[in-house]
């Protein structure tokens, strides 16, 4: 949670990195087009029926014959997500419709929904001209909107599960779901901040609640879960959280962010990390700050990915620098993984936190230059 400033965000591609705890999202693209390209996925292979396509809308039909839930992605350079389909349970098929201009891409299946996935090359040829600069920027807005929708869908789903656990008095399950549901929130938080009152209701920390306003939302339930463990009276709080999340999801899905908002949002997400997560202030009872850290980082990367085509035209050196610094922070953060999730903030030494802080600073300085590149 933080103060509202520019909003941000946007776009398209997600670049989810790692599965379960990643921001990623679900999406059911409406679609069309020629006969579907068959993708045979199992736990060790990802066979794409046709890897040389014509520009336009492509439809992939992904069948999972493995034993793990899988996902399927189409990535442009920099792991910009062009399209993805999630939650393909063993034995099921799902379709992905994706608009692909001429270019080179990668496909990926992610059995177990984590890691870089099983990658393959994909070539798309045709007459589609490279985007003009303006078109590249306009595309960023649409791209990011797709990202937001994928996150909000997951946010809603995981919040529902969390709320159900709280109302059922299942402390252990609620504790496990708390950082997961928040992940999707943290990926797109700057969008949420556009909507004034809702952000503090959902994500307000105790000290920022103004007089006369009740302390509600994620952090209220966090406090009860981790301090007294008594959530018997939290039913109404949980119901309100879900109502508020539903409202913000509807609003966020309708919001179109400008490229400049995207650029500022990418920076603000890192500011969030620098000011709230590194210090352990965000999740002071649960100490699950690194989940939020990872989500903020991914959200920032998603916003930059949406702007990438425009940035590559205008400032390729900056793109290179951002790639380097994103990779650096991801590497540093990656050392603190714990299974599918993250170590507690309290498990990190001061030296480790400083290292993360240095990494965020190194990334945030070049990111702060993106807005001017977009605006010129």
């Amino acid at each position: 949670m933080r103060t509202t400033r520019y909003l941000m965000l946007a776009a398209a591609g997600l670049l989810a990195t790692a599965g379960v705890t990643a921001c990623s999202g679900q999406k059911d693209d409406p679609a069309t087009a020629g006969g579907p390209i068959v993708v045979k996925a199992n736990d060790t292979a990802c066979e794409v029926g046709d890897t040389d396509l014509a520009a336009g809308t492509a439809t992939f039909k992904v069948t999972n014959s493995g034993s793990k839930v899988t996902e399927f992605y189409v990535y442009a350079s920099g792991d910009r997500v062009m399209g993805e389909v999630e939650n393909i349970a063993p034995g099921l098929s799902r379709e992905l419709h994706v608009e692909l201009p001429a270019g080179t891409y990668e496909t990926a299946c992610k059995p177990g929904m984590s890691g870089k996935g099983i990658r393959g090359a994909l070539k798309v040829s045709g007459s589609a001209a490279p985007l003009t600069e303006d078109a590249a920027l306009a595309g960023a807005t649409d791209s990011y909107q797709r990202y937001v929708k994928s996150q909000t869908a997951a946010l809603l789903e995981k919040t529902e599960e969390f709320v159900t656990a709280v109302k059922a008095g299942d402390v252990a399950k609620a504790k496990a779901l708390y950082p997961v549901a928040r992940t999707y929130w943290e990926c797109i938080e700057p969008v949420a901040e556009i909507f004034g009152d809702l952000d503090p209701k959902i994500d307000g920390r105790e000290e920022v609640i103004e007089e006369g306003m009740e302390f509600t939302g994620f952090h209220r339930i966090e406090k009860d879960l981790w301090t007294t463990g008594d959530i018997s009276k939290d039913g109404p709080i949980a119901d309100r959280l879900l109502t508020d999340v539903k409202e913000i999801v509807a609003k966020a899905n309708a919001e179109k962010l400008s490229p400049l908002q995207l650029a500022n949002g990418a920076k603000e997400l890192l500011d969030e990390v620098a000011s709230g997560k590194i210090t352990g202030e965000e999740d002071r009872y649960s100490h699950t700050d690194l989940w939020d850290f990872s989500a903020n980082l991914e959200g920032s990367k998603a916003a930059i990915a949406a702007l990438r085509p425009a940035l590559e035209q205008r400032s390729p050196d900056l793109v290179k620098q951002l790639d380097t610094e994103f990779a650096n922070v991801e590497g540093l953060l990656g050392e603190h993984r714990d299974g599918d999730g993250w170590k507690l903030h309290t498990a990190l030494s001061k030296a480790e936190l400083k290292e993360l802080s240095d990494g965020i600073n190194a990334l945030a300085e070049p990111i702060s230059k993106v807005a001017a590149v977009v605006a010129r």
Binding site: L260, E325, K354, E355, D358, N361, A362, L363, A364, E365, S368, K369, A371, A372, V374, A375, R376
Partner: protein, 425 residues
């Protein structure tokens, strides 16, 4: 600061167009700032600029300014080229800021509205204030704590840049000691000094990380005979017998690294030792005047050595009082630190008083941030401090909590030169 000349903003506007070559701009604008329409600026010495380029770095024999912000950095990149690029960027920014200009060419308010400004802005409208920026390279830049030669310069480490020994009584805190690089910012306006360090730290994101930094609010030494001797927080004049800018022969023998001393890149440079010395002022203040004077070896009022009349009189260690005891005790601070007791070794001190708030036990967290420049710490600081650490009665009131050593290269000659050029050549 009225009547002190052009504001940074105006100076930049004037300099603006002809901005070819960063260093060129710095020089040009510096002249404008200092010389130009308002002659009052030139006459206001404390507000003026100290030349950045020269044979030696500024900030060593430069008459000690009133304020300090000292910072030590860890280098966090493994990429030598990035480090060298940063040193070049820093040099350009330092040349600009010491001339009273903004850190970047666009300035605090001259860039695009959508972009963060390339200067942080808190020095807008302030004169150069004799800002000096002095860089040093620490032992760990050459070989880090794990023994790695990260930047391929281990064979260029001067022998004189040997790790300091542990002195008896040291209570050093590693997190505020050492460092791969340091920058000493001195100015007559604290805002100007802090502005300079903040902007250098910002330029360094991703390449260096601030390890520790220290503010000093009042100089405790004079480095020129034009300056009165200031007092430290024990209330005594400090730096009476300091090396001074006017002592050309002594500076050659005791301060500046000479050809043949070590690697050529350090010739014309100097080594700096910093020690953060906490002073237990509350117990000191309960000590009688006579005892305080015996501990120091000087009169508190005049600063004269005990038994003498004038501050600058030479101490007479042979003189005895009515009781037959030496007039200046053998373990007085002035005795132990005196060149005659240390093989002639002298230091150029330019330390600063600090108060870092309070310590939670109702005491001021106060003391002296000791800074001493010298030609070879092995022959100067180390033997002197060894004497003091063993015998100085003053130690009862002191805690050395941080320590660092840096090799400060010679001056940046001109706009084509930069910090570390010879070291990384």
């Amino acid at each position: 600061m009225s009547g002190s000349g052009l504001s940074r903003r105006r100076a930049i506007t004037l300099a603006g167009a002809g901005a070819a070559g960063v260093a060129g701009v710095a020089t040009g604008a510096g002249v404008l700032l200092r010389g130009a329409p308002d002659q009052a600026a030139a006459s206001d010495h404390a507000a003026g600029a100290v030349p950045f380029h020269g044979e030696h770095q500024a900030g060593i024999v430069t008459p000690a300014q009133d304020r300090l912000h000292f910072v030590a950095f860890d280098v966090i990149t493994k990429d030598r080229a990035r480090l060298v690029d940063l040193l070049q960027e820093w040099t350009a920014a330092a040349a600009r800021m010491t001339a009273g200009q903004d850190a970047g060419v666009l300035g605090a308010v001259g860039g695009m509205p959508e972009a963060p400004p390339d200067d942080t802005g808190e020095a807008l409208g302030l004169p150069p204030s004799q800002l000096t920026l002095t860089i040093g390279f620490g032992p760990t830049l050459f070989r880090d704590a794990e023994g790695r030669d990260r930047f391929g310069i281990a064979d260029r480490r001067p022998a004189a840049l040997a790790d300091l020994p542990r002195f008896p009584g040291d209570a050093l805190q590693p997190q505020i000691s050492g460092g791969d690089l340091c920058v000493q910012a001195c100015a007559n306006d604290p805002q100007v000094a802090v502005h300079a360090i903040r902007n250098l730290a910002r330029l360094g994101m991703g390449v260096v990380s601030v390890r520790w930094s220290q503010l000093g609010f009042g100089r405790t030494s004079s480095t020129s005979r034009d300056q009165a001797t200031p007092r430290n927080l024990f209330g005594f004049k400090d730096g009476t017998a300091n090396l001074k800018a006017e002592d050309a022969d002594l500076l050659r023998d005791q301060l500046w690294v000479q050809p043949g001393d070590g690697p050529d890149w350090m010739t014309g440079g100097s080594y700096v030792v910093t020690r953060k010395i906490r002073m237990l002022v509350e117990t000191w203040d309960r000590t009688s005047l006579a005892e305080q004077e015996e501990i120091v070896g000087r009169a508190k009022g005049s600063g004269a050595p005990l038994g003498q009349r004038d501050e600058f009189d030479e101490p007479d260690f042979a003189a005895t009082g009515d009781d037959g005891q030496p007039r200046i005790p053998a373990h007085a601070h002035v005795t132990l630190a005196h060149p005659t007791r240390n093989g002639g070794a002298r230091l150029l001190r330019r330390g600063y008083n600090f108060v870092d708030g309070s310590d939670g036990l109702g005491r001021l967290d106060a003391g002296l941030f000791f800074i001493a420049y010298q030609r070879d710490p092995r022959r100067q600081f180390v033997p002197i401090q060894t004497q003091l650490a063993r015998h100085d009665v003053m130690n009862e009131y002191l805690r050395h909590v941080s320590s660092a050593l840096f090799a400060c290269p010679p001056g940046v000659r001109d706009g084509g030169d930069h910090w570390g050029r010879a070291l990384f050549a």
